[in-house]
């Protein structure tokens, strides 16, 4: 019972952090709006400009921050549990790199200008192509090492494709556009992005949150898990689908945002009993809160260009990761 109440407390605190982050994300922005004007919008009789800013710009941005963060946090926690490697993160399977390649191709050939939905849809398509390649390469092997090697191969190929696009880009502006997108951001996203990303992320979250027990059993190694009745082939299938669809959908709307999937499970793990299942759901909620807060930060730091989310996450991520590394060294 004691661990149960500790877990409820943790989840409750994280949900509270999420709510605070979401409210900040809606009420803080580059356009200074008095609180009364914003409150009017939500009571139904606000002026059209405030309404547009809040409903058309800030609300989708907050929703994307929460859902992308939840997806990246969960993917990191699930992959660390499955691969039994605390350095695993969503990019190890190559899905996020492939999604980025899809987006870059959309930008490079100008498809992205036809319709705002083209870029995210191409990103998701490429994430799924990467998944098919991963299956072809890793075959029926249940070993995590085969999967990591296949993921590195797919990811490296996708990165090479992105580099090629930059290499061959016709003019500096095209290269700039690609690089800027790759830095990762939630700026100027609309509800069409939300509707593209949300179903993918929902599917991804369900698939990844499913297998907590099996991830616990994997603590005892593959033989140990199978002898406890878990079908590792099916677990791998759910994990791969969850990461490719979910992370593909997330990268499609936000660009490549690193570190969330890596550091969130590390932040959460010491607050739990350290079993992989106990880290999953809290990582989802903490990822949502963290990414949304970072997205608020990029709006309030006064810089000439708005800071990119991927940049801020990397700068936040490294020190947090180092502190945890120091602390963990006593345990490992």
């Amino acid at each position: 019972m004691r661990t149960f109440s500790a877990r409820s407390l943790l989840i409750g605190a994280l949900i509270l952090a999420c709510v605070v982050a979401a409210l900040l994300s809606i009420f803080v922005g580059s356009a200074p709006l008095p609180f009364a004007r914003m409150a009017d919008v939500f009571t139904g009789h606000g002026d059209p400009i405030a309404r547009t800013i809040l409903i058309e710009l800030r609300l989708p941005r907050a929703l994307l921050g929460l859902s992308v963060g939840a997806m990246l946090g969960t993917a990191g926690a699930a992959l660390q549990g499955y691969l039994r490697n605390p350095l695993a993160e969503p990019s190890v399977l190559g899905a996020s790199n492939a999604a980025a390649l899809g987006a870059v191709i959309a930008l490079y050939f100008g498809f992205a200008q036809w319709h705002p939905a083209i870029l995210p849809l191409m990103a998701i398509a490429f994430a799924i192509i990467a998944l098919v390649m991963l299956f072809a390469l890793a075959g029926h092997s249940e070993s995590p090492l085969t999967l990591i090697l296949a993921g590195i191969a797919v990811g490296t190929l996708a990165t090479a494709g992105v580099s090629l696009a930059l290499n061959l880009s016709p003019n500096p502006f095209a290269a700039m556009e690609i690089t800027t997108w790759l830095l990762g951001s939630l700026e100027d996203r609309s509800f069409s992005h939300v509707w593209i990303a949300l179903p993918c992320i929902a599917i991804g979250l369900i698939l990844l949150l499913w297998d907590g027990r099996a991830l616990d059993a994997l603590t005892l190694g593959e033989d140990g898990a199978r002898a406890m009745g878990f079908d590792l082939g099916r677990i791998r299938l759910r994990l791969l689908l969850g990461v490719a669809i979910g992370v593909g959908g997330a990268v499609a709307v936000s660009g490549a945002i690193g570190f969330v999937g890596l550091i969130v499970p590390h932040l959460i793990r010491p607050l739990t009993d350290r079993s992989p299942s106990a880290v999953l759901l809290p990582s989802a909620i903490a990822g949502a809160a963290l990414l949304t807060l970072a997205d608020v930060l990029v709006r309030i730091v006064p810089t000439s260009n708005e800071l990119k989310l991927g940049v801020v996450m990397a700068f936040l991520g490294v020190p947090v990761f180092l502190v945890h590394l120091m602390r963990e060294r006593r345990l490992w």
């Binding site: 027990r213 603590t219 140990g224 009745g229 350290r274």
Partner: protein, 256 residues
């Protein structure tokens, strides 16, 4: 009581054939020692029995059922793999609780019956005092007992343990063998892969001696462990004696 029948079992690891037609009949209520030199196929035999590796030919019948579904198998045969694999720094109690996973319905919470089983397993393996310690920080011997407690917590009618005595001091070796014996006395089938011939002779009701993937001898310890076989299969000369009415077998030197 559980009954495991192995019929003409052939197993290959990669392309290398490891078992060449192994037959065995095993019933609950006894401790069966699987012995043999390194590479004889002991671990492969128990892994194939548990359905962890594919068999090329032959079959394993558990209570008359071939190819038992994995979740049912998990409740019928508890398995302690070789080598104490443990990937996360869990507390001892949390680790032992993993043994209840085969009994839990998806998304259900641990019930009182499960808590009781966890408690019993910890007491039996003498690790109840370590419950809040981090399992990865224990000594090798403590950790071996915690891993055994995890397997006991399954409370399955059959228990397969692969080298349960590795890294245990003599006192704890005796304790673990007594514990396995007690499990058998309650009707469980205990199959233990062992290297220590004295322990095998003293605590096992039956021995299966494997050599190069075949059963070289099977039967009571005194019938299986003969100077001639030790010379032929292990390539050793041993001293045979008795202490407290039990055999003592001490390897002396390699036979030339």
């Amino acid at each position: 009581m559980v009954k495991i029948a192995i019929e003409g079992l052939h197993v290959s690891l990669g392309r290398k054939p490891v078992l060449h037609g192994v037959d065995a009949q095993m019933y609950g209520g006894v401790v069966i020692g699987v012995i043999g030199p390194n590479g004889a196929g002991k671990s492969t035999l128990v892994r194939a029995m548990l359905g962890l590796i594919p068999v090329t030919a032959g079959k394993v019948l558990i209570d008359g059922v071939a190819d038992m579904p994995r979740n049912r198998m998990a409740r019928t045969v508890a398995y302690l793999p070789q080598g104490q694999t443990l990937h996360w720094p869990l507390t001892v109690e949390r680790l032992v609780a993993l043994g209840r996973l085969p009994h839990l319905a998806p998304f259900s919470r641990i019930a009182d019956a499960d808590h009781d089983a966890i408690e019993r397993a910890m007491v039996m393996a003498d690790v109840a005092g370590l419950r809040d310690r981090i399992a990865t920080e224990l000594s090798g011997g403590e950790r071996a007992r915690v891993m055994l407690a995890r397997a006991l917590a399954v409370e399955a009618p059959a228990l397969v343990v692969d080298e349960p005595l590795a890294s245990l001091d003599p006192g704890h070796q005796l304790e673990v063998m007594e514990l396995l014996k007690a499990q058998a006395a309650r009707g469980a089938l205990v199959i233990a892969v062992l290297h220590d011939l004295t322990m095998a002779a003293r605590f096992c009701d039956r021995l299966i001696l494997l050599s190069q993937g075949r059963v070289a001898a099977e039967g009571s310890p005194s019938a299986v462990l003969t100077p001639d076989r030790l010379a032929r299969i292990y390539g050793i000369t041993a001293w045979f004696g008795t202490g407290e009415n039990a055999s003592v077998i001490v390897p002396l030197h390699r036979s030339s």
